[in-house]
């Protein structure tokens, strides 16, 4: 069994087009949530989202390549380039690329391509669909495109588990590198889901906020959809040390579980099991953890349930934890959420600064932990958990240790 470390990270998020820009905004407590611009706002019920704005695909891809890429793959590819560049890793050297894995989570896949194809067919009565529709919309396209661009020939696939897709992806990549099945991995999550069809479907569930995202706050009114991608380079501690790489953090362990209960209502037990397994897998005592990046969607159901699950996992130490939901700033990017939140968690470990839960007004008696309201806090973070809990009751938690 190898120890696994993170040596590169990249991100394209509503807070910025790089991991450092995203982290800077999180530290400042700046929110990327605002009136939606990609869709006609007047036809939506609330019309707010956390969008990646000002992203010009032609600044990153030539037209010939772009025709193959849904926005979900574009965001992932740009984030992967940044992560690989930062890691300073040469996949051609020692044939490393021959056994580097690519595991990328997405909740929905090529939603914009799907929406466009539906519009042509049903709205325009045009029976001819673009011949590249399938290769753009398939949920594994982001993983494939990264593999192709960087010549990575190890185990490569997508994970799909709604809002836990990214954490499940990172957990699989971790297992591949820790066990030696793969020599290194490029992993993370991506989502580009802000189409009329997807937003309307979320509206119909009546879980969207009409003002902004206020996790754990008494005045919370639901989640705010987001989009974006974040990608990481994982490798063994030995390799990273041998090549003198900068280690951003150690990925110490992962914990996964299924509620086997309700399709939407979360379970305290399922969430706690995933956190407990992550601690055990990472060899971490509960008291060693200083920060939990919460799933914290801002819905009435998630936040009290997650609070109770944290208490069940940490016991008396729960009151010493800093817990924050950065979805208050980058929105809920579904299958990319856990990856974007890993940028926040790594930032906390490296800088000793816990990002806040923004938009917090009054505490809710049912949510009684320290949520770091509105302002980042200086606090040494030795180890941290990052939670993702999906519809369907699928839970995936990452345990990280300071490098």
């Amino acid at each position: 069994m190898h120890r696994v470390v993170i040596t590169g990270m990249g991100a394209v998020t509503p807070l910025g087009h790089s991991a450092p820009a995203t982290w800077a905004a999180l530290r400042e407590g700046r929110s990327g949530i605002g009136p939606i611009t990609a869709l006609p706002r007047e036809s939506l019920r609330f019309g707010i989202a956390a969008e990646v704005q000002g992203f010009d695909p032609l600044a990153h891809f030539d037209e010939k390549k772009l025709i193959l890429l849904d926005r979900v793959s574009q965001l992932a590819l740009v984030a992967a380039r940044e992560a690989i560049r930062q890691a300073g890793i040469d996949f051609a050297r020692d044939e490393l690329g021959e056994n580097t894995a690519v595991v990328i989570g997405t909740g929905i896949g090529g939603e914009n391509t799907n929406d466009e194809a539906s519009r042509r067919m049903y709205a325009e009565n045009n029976p001819r669909l673009h011949p590249l529709t399938i290769v753009r919309l398939m949920a594994n396209a982001p993983a494939c495109q990264i593999s192709i661009e960087h010549g990575l020939r190890g185990p490569s696939f997508a994970t799909v588990s709604a809002c836990a897709s990214a954490n499940h992806a990172i957990a699989q990549a971790f297992a591949l590198v820790r066990s030696g099945v793969a020599d290194a991995a490029v992993t993370g999550g991506t989502e580009a889901c802000l189409t009329m069809g997807a937003v309307r479907a979320w509206e119909a569930m009546r879980v969207l906020a009409d003002d902004t995202c206020r996790p754990f706050s008494k005045q919370r009114r639901g989640l705010v959809l987001g989009e974006g991608a974040a990608v990481f380079v994982l490798e063994t501690l030995e390799r990273a040390q041998a090549r003198g790489a900068t280690i951003l953090a150690e990925l110490a362990g992962v914990g996964m579980s299924a509620d086997a209960g309700d399709i939407v209502f979360p379970s305290e037990k399922g969430a706690a099991m995933a956190m407990q397994r992550a601690l055990r897998d990472g060899g971490l005592a509960p008291e060693a953890v200083d920060y939990v990046n919460a799933h914290g969607t801002g819905t009435p159901a998630n936040d009290p349930t997650e609070t109770r699950a944290i208490r069940r996992t940490f016991g008396a130490h729960a009151d010493a934890l800093a817990v924050s939901s950065t979805k208050s700033m980058h929105g809920h990017a579904l299958g990319a959420a856990g990856a974007i939140e890993l940028v926040a968690t790594i930032g906390a470990l490296r800088d000793g600064v816990v990002p806040p839960t923004a938009n917090f007004i009054d505490p809710d008696p049912e949510c009684d932990l320290d949520y770091v309201p509105n302002t980042a806090r200086e606090k040494g973070v030795r180890a941290a958990l990052s939670n993702s809990f999906a519809f369907g009751g699928l839970n995936a938690v990452l345990a990280l240790r300071r490098a």
Partner: protein, 87 residues
């Protein structure tokens, strides 16, 4: 019983699987032990049947009690009749 109330009783019974005889105008969906996912399906079926958009957590409307649902639908349906949507 008004026809709107009759239809809403039918929708609640069908979507939640509870006995229609148990539904009373004064009960809230919560009183009837209707889970949140069933509740949003009830709202959807009401919207689809009456071709209206039910308010979402609007303090001016009661969409939690059966009576409130009936009144909301009657009000919105009357508005719709007065101002039919173009096209």
């Amino acid at each position: 019983m008004s026809s709107v109330q009759d239809t809403i009783f039918d929708i609640i019974a069908k979507e939640s699987g509870i006995d229609r005889a148990k539904i009373t105008p004064d009960a809230t969906l919560k009183d009837l032990d209707i889970q949140s996912l069933d509740a949003v399906q009830i709202l959807f079926e009401i919207e689809d049947h009456f071709k209206i958009t039910m308010p979402d957590r609007d303090p001016n409307f009661d969409t939690e009690s059966v009576k409130g649902l009936v009144e909301t639908v009657e009000k919105l349906a009357a508005e719709r009749q007065a101002n039919p949507p173009a096209g």
